[in-house]
Structures are given as structure tokens and as C-alpha cells.
Amino acid sequence: MVQSFEFKQCITLLKSTGKKACTLRELRERIAGASDESILHHTYQYFLKGHILEYTNDFAQWAGSSLEERALAEQLSNIDPYDYDNVGNVRSKFLETLDQYLSTFPEPRPVIPGDEFFFNETVMLIYPSGIRVKNLAEFLMAIKYVDKSSLYYHFYEARQRLGSNHDDFTVWFETVLAKKDLVYAIRAIDPFMHTLEGIREQITRIVEAEVQHDMAFAGVES
């Protein structure tokens, strides 16, 4: 019997660490001492917010909108967490970028009170969406309508959970459906460059083409 794919979805419950930064130097020191969970929340989990804001992680957003250090915000925004094997390496890249900036502009201004950077962590709750699919055609129907948090959980969060920079979808396509070309095509999507809705569109387009190809191969007219 074919092993089905169960769509799960998630929410994050925000937890304060009680730590904050008023200046770039403080931000640098706090990033150096923050828990992995906190770094993960402010970088990887930023994708759950759906890119409503200008930059691509909380540190860049704060540097740009609160400190008005826009050049730095662009540099921090260009750090793609999915380019790194683990949170520690992402942390190092942020520290390196901040150190470089501080060596050129050693006296950045503090923020106005109340606008400090607040370090948070999360507790993630994962639960079944009630959607389970057995083949690619069913997957195509489901991917169009599942909650955005399902896309986050299976496409983004999976990369840390599986530790291989792979996502849940392609693992299923590879191990259960033996769809190697489909796996290559989905893995070629750059997770950093899309919103969750953008990811939905990309996957839908690729899977749709694969389903049509299968139908044509089987002699079924679409």
C-alpha cells in the first residue's frame, strides 16, 4: 500500500526572553549571546509572517525602520538563512556583517525609547490539518488550498527538522512516489526568494505539469 502524505499545520506561540537592544552594539552583543531558538525565530521563522514588511528578517527590519541604518538593513536582509547548515552559522554571518558595519560607522545612534529590539523565542504547536493524499493528483488539489502554515511547516521548517536542507514534499515524492525529476524541480525553488503564497504557486505549477505529463504518458487527454 502506498504511504500517504499527511498535511500538518502549525502555529507559533511567542515567548519573550526579557532581553532587548537599544543600539547596534547592543544588538551585536545580544545576538552573540542569544539562544539558538531566538536566532531561529528572528530569521527562519520570519517567513511565517508572509513578507508584509520590507526586509527579510527581524534584525534587518529593526536596523532599517527603527535605527534608519538602511545600508546595513540591506546587508542583513541579504543573509539567506537557508544557505547555512545550522543556526550557529547563520548567527556567525549576522555577527560578521554587524562587525564590518560597526568598524566603518562606529557610533550609530540609539533608538527612541520603546522602539528597542526585543528578543523573543517561540513554542511551536503542530497539528493535523485533516488532509491526507495518496497520489500526485490528490496532492495537487490539496496544495492549492492548504493553510499557509502547512506550507511553512513542510517546506521551510522541515529544512531544520530533517537537517538536510530538504523539505517534506520532495522527501515523499522521492521515497514513496519515486518522482526524481519532480524532486529536482521542486528543490530548485529558492525558498529565500518567495512568500508562502509564492511557494504555493511555484509548487502548484511544477506538480501540475508533472500530472499532465503522467496523464499524457498514460494516454489520457487533459
Binding site: Q9, I11, L13, L53, V123, S129
Partner: protein, 403 residues
Amino acid sequence: MIAQYKHVTPKGDILLLQKLGEKLRGKSFLHINSTKEGGGVAEILHRMIPLLNNLGINARWEVIEGNARFFDITKKIHNALQGNAEAITNEMWEIHYEVNSSNAEKLNLEADAVLIHDPQPAPLVTFKKGGTWIWRCHIDVSSPYPAVWQRLKSYCEHYNAAVFSVAKFAQAMPIDEFIIPPAIDPLSEKNRDLTAEEIRETVQKFGIPLDRPVLLQVSRFDRFKDPLGVIQAYRKVKKYNDCVLVLAGSPASDDPEGEAVLNEVREYASDDPDIFILLLPPFSDKDINALQRTATVVLQKSLREGFGLTMSEAMWKEKPVIGGAVGGIPTQIVHGVTGFLVHSVDGAAFRIRQFLNNPEMARRMGEAGREYVRTNFLITRQMRDYLAVWYSAINKGKETLEL
């Protein structure tokens, strides 16, 4: 009852509520605050308790009793936590404790989870008998008067966890601190859809003219809500756009300053026939709903704010909103997307004029606001988060919980 929300709130919230309901079924959940009416906490508890029971959780709500002296002290504590320099003497702290002590004798404090709302009943934790105790702070404590916060903190540290509305309110404490924004109930009398006839009834009752744009602020008569600043902004706008201003609020039994502020507002408004100051009796929810639906622009020009849910109420009704950039208002208003944030009377006046002169922009922001509220500020999301905090406290130390 939860089923009624299926067509309004995100499906995922309902799913998770049902899952958490299964895990916590039959357990008891006690909420305690200091007023049965007036203010956002009482309002949401009226709706949340039956919904929690509907999920199979034994939820109940108790209110502590106190005399005028007690509420005078707790109002001072409230103001100090929002940054005012207030002298709270040892004798006053003793009264705060003693009133809670006598309430603890009368109330049944036994429950699997106890959620204590705000500073008034915070000392009840001293009489904890078991279960998970959570302190829920609804007010802006981002810059508290230090001596008052230190004293209150000595109670807070005895809780299993604390909940704040916005990340910047959280203070360093040796307990878990969660961030949960409050929420509105889309099906309550205050937010449900109204018929044209229902809206007309309210408008006629208060004699509000509809031949000009209507500016509205709904809030307690409290200096932190800056009602005088709203009148100043209205006067600046009035030079360019003829309009009327409605300031509407209900008294709260735990706010002894309300009457004094109301008198200040009346005096400042003078005899301007286009300013309507409405002191609404408790449970005027349908009238508030009708006023919000009548308004052209809705303001919450607070100087300090716990969260400012009137913004979400207005956004739910697709109204263009202008809010002071304080407390939880920036959490609700994405500046330029779901409304405008302002920092001054001039800022408020300018943004009002922008909305009055650009109805298409006002419509677009109103629509974006409703969707933002649907996904972030409805009661189902808040209940989901409270239950998730409780479930997380039971599973302390785990960063990922699979249901």
C-alpha cells in the same frame, strides 16, 4: 457554539481549538478580574467563558470585590505601571493585599489553570492551592514607574507564567513570559453585522447628523486616551473639511477618574454643536457597533495604551483607522497598509484630512484592515493561544509540541 465561527475565522484556528479542547477536556479553567462590566477584559470574558465550556473545558469567571479606597489605589498602581510617577505607600500596598486576602477566603481558587487578569487581583497567587497560575497583564508596562513595578513583580514571580499583549511590555522575570495579543468577538453585539434600520435607530437616538463626515473615538474618558487631543485634531480638520466629532465611552466601575476627565472634555468642547460627547451606559454594545459603522474615520489617539482594541473593532467594520503609535496599536495598524499611526495632534489632523479627501485609499485600507483582523485579532485565535500557553505549561521545557 464554536461551529458558528467556522465561516468567519481561519479554519486552522478552529481545528487547533478542537485539538486543544480534546487534550484539556474536563479540566477546570478559572479567570479572575476586578470588574464585571466596562473595559475590554470584561467584554471578552463574557464571550470567552461560554465558548471554552463549549469545548468541554470547565471554565468559570470570578470577580474580586473591593471598596472605593481599593480601586483608588489600584488605579494609581495602573497609572504608575503606565509610567506615571505615583507614590504608593506601604499602607496602600497592605490594603491591596488585604482586599485580595479577604477575596481569597470567599472565592473558590481551586482549578487546573487560573488566569489572573491585571494588577488588581495579582496578590491572589499568594493563596494558590495548586494548578497552573498565569498572570495576564493587559496594560502597557513598557516603562513602568520602577518602585511600583518592583513591588508588583514580587507577586508576579510566584506565577507559573505571565502573558503580555505586546513583546515590548514584557519585563525581565524568572518565569515564562508569553506574548498574546487580545482580540475581538466578530459575532458579539458589538461587532456583528447590523441592519440599516438598527444603525439608523442609534444615529437618531443621539441626533448625529449624517450630512457630513463623522469622526469617532470610542474609549473610556481617560487622560491616556487623549480626548482633548482628538478635539484639537478635529478643530484643525474643521478649517478644511466640515465634519462632526463623536467621543463615546462607557464608565467602568474600577475607574474613579472617569468623571473628572469627562468634565474636562465637556468644558474643552465648550458649546460646539458638532461635538457629541456620549456617556454610554454599560452594555451599549449595539450602539457602539452602530456608531463605528456610521463613522467615516475612526481614531484611537492614545498617549498610552494597553492594546487599543477599538482599532480592531473598527478595522473589522472596514473603517479607515488612525491610532497613536503606542501600546498595542502598532501591532494592529501596519502603517500605510491597514491604517495610519500618528505621534501628534498635527499627525492625526493630517491623516484625517487625507482619508476625507481620498475615499478610494480609505476603502482600500479598510478592506486590508478587515483581513488583518480576521487572521490575527479574533477571539478564536486568542482562546487558541490561552489554551496553548496552558498546554505548554503542562509540557514545560518543550519547544515543539505535536498534537
